[in-house]
Amino acid sequence: MKTELMSANYAAARSAVSARVEVVAAYPITPATTVPEQVALLNEKGIFKGQFIRVESEHSAIFACIGASSTGARAFTATSSNGLLYMDEGLHWAAAARLPIVVNNVNRSVSPSWNIHVSHDDSYSKRDTGWIQFYVASVDELYHTLIQSFKLAEDERVLMPVLVNSDGFVLSHTVSTFDYLEPEEVDKFLPPYSPPHYVMDPENPVSMGNIVFPEFYEEFRYGMHEGTHNAAKVYKEVEKDYKKLFGKYFGGPIDCYMCDDAEVVFTSQGSMGAEAKDAVSELREEGYKVGNARIRMIRPFPTDEIRKLGGRVKAFASFDRGVSYGFGGPVANDIRSTLYHTEHRPMVKSYIGGLGGRDMTVTDIKEVILDTVKAVESGELGPEETWHDLLE
């Protein structure tokens, strides 16, 4: 392990080297472009030893990965926003074909209005595809989560693809240190992918994506649900191994900070969760019993962890950098439904903001947390949903 200094996108490209990815098929889109750009460069230098396939669209990129993964190859790609949306059909296909592809989605707002900065709407809209979803808060976490994702996706109990989300520009183009692992080091953790079911092989042909009529279709869908559910348990094992081998641990599905005795817990996804640590530290100094729960995994949703946390706090201040139009904050609503069948149901206040890359500073986060603190103190929930910093 050695310390390198790179942007999150370059580090993502390095993860393809470390994990001995065999096929990368990608199409450029800001802010993900420098991921495949760097993979191409590393390929030219002979550092990335897999195949780099240039394709004409994101739709083709994901389907080239599907083809590669169907032959038993380890496949990876990166995209953003409209690119991820253009992959949609392939995302559903990869999940239902149980192909352990890993994609780095560099979160970017969806158009129109045209905007290249971060919102989580692109990946939120993919929650129901079956893909496991992570949100990371640092360059180091992105690099190591990508490597962990291959192990998780390829586990026979899971066998589902993984989307690792990193905030556009805030992470993608921000240079920071991370601990790089040589492929020889990762070998101890990640063996070559060996598919437990069919592979496409001209010597032993199979037909995939066959017609399945009502007699069995539902059972295949149940299998997907089980696979994604199992990821919660399997990821714990993956993290344990990873910590033992490399000393790296990012907090499980929810990275909790000062949550033990907290009355109000702030939840968020992505890089804002790192910023929120500072906000919580400052509020603690000011005497508020608050904590920070950075939600790293939204599918499978960490219901056990949320219920455990919900059992001891008075309120959640749940921040979403995206919207389910007509219903509200996607993760806030997931937290609410997770807590519905529990005895102790704390307040869940939903906040939406930081859209289109609008900066969410420590001051903003403190303001949000204090709004929930006020609700707890007064005993009045107030508005269920607040759009933070919304102009008149």
Binding site: A96, A97, R98, L159, P196, H197, Y198, P205, V206, S207, M208, G209, N210, I211, V212, F216, E219, F220, G223, G227
Partner: protein, 92 residues
């Protein structure tokens, strides 16, 4: 249950798909010159050839698309309603 749907190549993996048919190709063997054009174009590969090139359609799997009739240079493949063909051959 396998994890996902896939099959090994075999005859009739999805049942006898010939039941999907409405029209059946019927070759007029007096006119047919054994050119094999129909055999070459059949998307389901259900046309087999005798040694002299005489085509035979496997009605268990032919889906009745009519491509063979379209491409036949001699226009000697007629698409006939399934029940009509069966009446002609005495199957019904």
């Amino acid at each position: 249950m396998p994890k996902t749907s896939y099959s090994k190549p075999m005859i009739g993996a999805t049942g006898e798909t010939g039941s999907w048919r409405t029209f059946d190709p019927v070759v007029d063997y007096d006119e047919c010159n054994r050119c094999r054009t129909c055999w070459l174009h059949c998307p389901e590969a259900v046309i087999t050839l005798d040694e002299d090139g005489t085509p035979h359609t496997d009605y268990d799997y032919c889906k009745g698309c009519g491509i063979c009739a379209q491409v036949c240079p001699k226009k000697c493949i007629e698409m006939v309603r399934t029940d009509e063909r069966k009446r002609r051959t005495g199957e019904v």
